[in-house]
Amino acid sequence: MMEITGTGIGQGVAVGPIVRMAEPLPEPVDRPSDLDPEREGERAKASLSVVAHELTERGARAGGAAKDVLEAQAMMAEDPSLIDEVTARLADGKTAERAVFEAFASYRELLAGMGGYMAERAADLDDISQRVIAHLLKLPAPGVPDPGHPFVLVARDLAPADTATLDLDQVLGLVTVDGGPTSHTAILAREKSIVAIVGAADASGLADGDTVIVDAANGLVVSGPSPDEIAAAEARIAERAALEAAPVTPGALADGTAVPLLANLGSADGAAEALRLGAEGVGLFRTEFLFLGADTAPSVTEQQAQYTRLLTAFAGRKVVVRVLDAGADKPLAFLNDAHEDNPALGLRGIRALRHAEVILREQLTALAAADAATDADLWVMAPMIATVEETRYFTGLAKELGIRVAGVMVETPSAALVADRVLAACDFASIGTNDLTQYTMAADRLLGTVATLQDPWHPAVLRLIADVGAAGAEIGKPVGICGEAAADPLLAAVLVGLGATSLSMSPSALADVRASLARYSLSDAKTLAQAALAAEGAAEARAAAQSAASEITTVREAAP
């Protein structure tokens, strides 16, 4: 038995055999072939045909729309025009690997240059090309493997496209060597409820076929577990399934203190699922999806239709919409195309919107119109607020354009440190713990090398949250949390102890957080918070809260 540690995402457990994801192949070297062109041609055609066959088979297994896509890819692998391109290059004395690479690349350029839908097909060609070259080199195919049975995927890291296309019936769990708790892999894993452990550096030593327990709740990968350990893990899997099937109740502490549990959503499509999982409203609706990938901002009418759809789905409930949060890792050419050396510290969030005020005005206008046409309780907030002056600018404009409740996201230490004055100038605050952690710890949330610093349990981050909570309580304004921190069941209780009045998270985390809050009274939550605040670092804070929590539960169980 061997244990590997990493950062667990969510509270899930999975058991199964490992399949490793192959590393991307390097570009084949352009050197003269030792074989004659006919022999190289046979090699190339054989590998193209094997890959075409595999793709067709995968299509037949997948069925539906995927079948058409995979069949089209299979045809591309054996395309007569492509084979002509390969043959011409072999005649020049190139190797089969290099000829295949160049032939696909020529079509790739052609399609990429056409833009839109065709440009997306360019990525398909890369995938086919890599598969053929891997077959020629007798290496495993790159990309997410498809062994034909359920498995635990071990990878260095996943591209967003890989994560998005994971077959959740086949992938039992996910272990990545790189990546931190706020990496895109982690966020997507959380969103899709994939049992995942990221940043497990020693996982590169795991071999295909090894049975492992992926224990996300404890950030542990156990390889070669005993039958008893497997039985215990399976019991936990069954227990969680029962928890998820339990009737949904509003979020509340053990003493009845209400803590509304809200959902983080990225488009109106997730509304039904969020409601099913017990979301009492939306605590963070990201509007980026309307803008990313577009050449110009969508019109007021187009935006209004999307907002109306969302607000209609949550009629009678609170919906907090965040205006466009672009810049940094989400660049938008029509907003700001200037190069920045440190985009996380650059013209992003409210700064970028102020720079292009017409976009903000149109968005607020569309939101106000959608609000007027529906029965939801719409709140609107601005991202990346750093000063009281920016707060006044945003709330002033929002009110002028008909928004009833306007607030700010607290993501910078500066906003947290003057939270009393910021809150005096708006209606509510919502703490974005990912960015607040990034800026407090001076650790880029996208950088694996500093991932260990990206921990919202750090007492410095908790102290800032406590300041905002205290300021909110003082003047009677709501302070929500809408970061990944709220999805951690124990940290959720700590956040309430620090003064958070609502919690918003990926819908998949709602059941675990609801169950956790029900274990503690408000005074328990404050005890947990004090224990964490008094610690030296993130790990110590988590341990202190865990130990205080087990004391609370033990005392309660001992009581008559």
């Binding site: 089209a72 045809m75 492509l82 097909r121």
Partner: protein, 88 residues
């Protein structure tokens, strides 16, 4: 050798599923089939890459040339495929 011009019926033009159905049929016909977009160079109709890289949209006119085999039956069935809306 037979030749005919047809307007593309599929809502999203000749890519993805419609292109796949068309090139599969062209390849299976046994005849040599070329396709050209109005004024463009003819491409092998059995090549999905050749066909989709023409960027043929809904309503575009394309000319098919069939050489060999049962030319008129092949042409009829391919024209039928191109004028049907497969994106419905």
């Amino acid at each position: 050798m037979l030749e005919r011009t047809v307007r593309i019926g599929s809502t999203h033009g000749l890519h993805a599923r419609p292109a796949k159905l068309f090139t599969q049929a062209a390849a299976a016909s046994g005849a040599t089939v070329t396709l050209s977009k109005s004024g463009g160079d003819p491409v092998n109709a059995a090549s999905i890459l050749g066909v989709i890289s023409q960027g043929i949209d809904h309503g575009d006119e394309v000319t098919l040339v069939v050489d060999g085999g049962d030319e008129s039956a092949v042409l009829d069935s391919l024209i039928e495929l191109l004028s049907t809306d497969h994106d419905e």
